[in-house]
């Protein structure tokens, strides 16, 4: 007993992303857009799942995207490579699922109690309200930041994916949101 | 030589399913046969081809009817005839769909399908043969068993209230509602013909005798006695207008009770939707 369990590891070919926040912050739509951006050219497989039911409407809503160049066996995340936490509650709930050395991105206005120094913080909600012109695009700003910080998808591909899902009349707002997220995150990298 | 010529009588024989042996399973004098004969004559008078008629039924005495008739036949599960018929009609809107059902079948186990078929106003003609009792299972009380009436499950008299089938259909959204009895067979035939030509959900309540159970348990006598009772207790819509509520108690108003063309028919409405979507509309 235990001989096998000591030796196992999550396969290296998987990149696991979780977008978390409160219901209504657009985490599921964010994950859908990210999946379309990443999987669009057919070179990578994606598997997107979400919390479904009452918790999706409040508390710590989450949506996962698993990315791999190979067939994705297990559809859900096992150990996160990237966690986006838009609220304190979601960080508290999901920080334990982040792997050692994994990337943590938070909204540093709404999330203040952070159990590590190794994270990227940006005021997504404030940027959305003050710079992008609508609080609704905080999730899109976060996607821009994810693109800049991880390279899991390039900026132009992301913009196209965002525009494909944007309601008519909001295209410019959404394009700008990606740009803001990307730009602000680039600053953090330096 | 006879001079009185009214109608071709043997037309009914043309509509019997080849190979299916008569006589029917029904008791001697059962009103189901009379209603079947009326349906055949209505269909024949309207000139429908046998190929365009689908007869759908559920479970019960009356629901055996499609087996005998040379139409496409769907003899389904208890209470569900209208739901099956909805599938047939919606899939092949040019077909004439006739549902033959009983009071227990349509109103108890099938009550939900009944009100929703009315609500949709789908172009189905439902002939509900109301004998106030479950015949096939041996005389149990049904949703139309009158107050205080006897059945094998109401041995001390029925404590429940009963449905007025026609009121129910009208309230639920049916756009044609008619009633007749097996005594008034020629009028029943007319009601059915009018219902068949109506575009929308049409209900014809055919009051029929189950002397075997209802008649025996409620001392109403044999088939003939029950037919005569139907004659005595029925009043036409015209006559009913001149009668008080008190006078109308225990009477059946027969004739066309409700008819409307204002509400659109479901299949036609859906076809409009399909056409609109095909043009790129919403």
């Amino acid at each position: 007993m235990g001989a096998l369990l000591d030796k196992i590891a999550v396969p290296q070919d998987r990149f696991e992303i979780r977008l978390s926040g409160s219901g209504g912050q657009g985490m599921i739509l964010g994950a859908v857009i990210l999946s379309e951006a990443i999987g669009g050219d057919g070179t990578k497989n994606v598997s997107q799942t979400q919390s479904y039911g009452p918790e999706a409407r409040g508390g710590a809503s989450k949506s996962d995207v698993v990315v791999s160049p190979n067939q994705i066996f297990y559809p859900k995340a096992m150990k996160l490579d990237l966690l986006l936490a838009m609220t304190q509650e979601s960080l508290d709930s999901y920080y334990k699922d982040l792997k050692d050395g994994g990337t943590l991105i938070i909204d540093n206005v709404l999330v203040t109690d952070i159990p590590t120094d190794n994270y990227y913080g940006l005021p997504f909600t404030r940027l959305a309200r003050e710079e992008a012109g609508h609080v609704m695009v905080a999730n899109v700003i976060a996607l821009g930041a994810i693109a800049a910080l991880t390279g899991v998808v390039d900026k132009e591909t992301l913009i196209n994916a965002v525009l494909a899902r944007a309601p008519r009349g909001t295209e410019e707002k959404n394009r700008k949101a990606v740009e803001i997220g990307f730009r602000e995150a680039e600053k953090l990298k330096k | 030589m006879a001079t009185v010529v009214k109608q071709k009588s043997d037309v009914v024989l043309d509509y019997l399913r080849p190979g299916k042996k008569f006589p029917s399973v029904w008791c001697p004098g059962c009103g189901n046969g009379t209603v079947m004969s009326a349906i055949i004559r209505a269909v024949d008078k309207l000139g429908y081809s046998k190929d365009e008629v689908v007869m759908v039924s559920g479970i019960g005495c009356s629901s055996r009817m499609p087996i005998y008739l040379d139409f496409s036949a769907l003899h389904t599960t208890h209470g569900r005839a209208l739901a099956f018929a909805t599938g047939v009609k919606f899939a092949q809107p040019h077909m004439k769909v006739i549902v033959v059902t009983g009071d227990g079948d349509a109103l108890a186990i099938g009550g939900n399908h009944f009100i929703h078929a009315c609500r949709r106003n789908i172009d189905i003609t439902a002939v509900l043969i109301n004998n106030n009792i479950y015949g096939m299972t041996g005389g149990q009380g049904s949703p139309t068993t009158p107050d205080a009436a006897f059945s094998t499950t109401t041995p001390y008299g029925n404590a429940e209230k009963h449905f007025d089938v026609c009121d129910l259909a009208k309230a639920a959204g049916a756009t044609y509602v008619g009633r007749s009895t097996v005594y008034h067979a020629p009028q029943l035939e007319k009601q059915i013909a009018t219902a068949l030509e109506h575009r929308g959900f049409a209900l014809v309540e055919a009051i029929a005798n189950c002397h075997t159970y209802f008649g025996r348990l409620n001392r109403q006598g044999d088939a003939v006695a029950m037919l005569n009772m139907f004659k005595e207790r029925s009043v036409t819509t015209a006559k009913a207008k001149e009668m008080t509520e008190e006078e109308l108690k225990d009477k059946w108003v027969i004739g066309t009770l409700y008819e409307s063309t204002e509400k659109s028919e479901f299949c036609e409405e859906y076809q409009k939707l399909v056409d609109r979507v095909a043009k790129g509309g919403r």
């Binding site: - | 071709k8 079947m36 037919l227």
Partner: protein, 86 residues
């Protein structure tokens, strides 16, 4: 209400006219193998054309009174009566 009463009621009207069916077939034909002897035709016939046989099935006892009124075959639940005059 008894069987006898109702039958009598239906027979109240006396026959008015006689018809001669001798040149052709009888006014109606009864399919005895389909007939279940329910008595409806016998009771409803306004001119008392039928009488029940030993099994209760109708026989044409007074065919000359048949007016081709249609009541018998239109009510026959077993489609056992057809008129021969159309």
């Amino acid at each position: 209400m008894s069987d006898a009463n109702s039958t009598d009621q239906a027979r109240r009207k006396p026959p008015q006219t006689k018809y001669d069916y001798s040149a052709g077939p009888p006014p109606v034909t009864i399919n005895m193998s389909w007939c279940k002897a329910c008595n409806i035709c016998i009771a409803l016939c306004p001119t008392q054309v039928f009488e029940p046989d030993r099994d209760g099935k109708p026989v044409l006892a007074r065919q000359e009174y048949c007016t081709q009124c249609t009541l018998c075959w239109i009510h026959c639940p077993d489609l056992a009566i057809t008129s021969n005059y159309k």
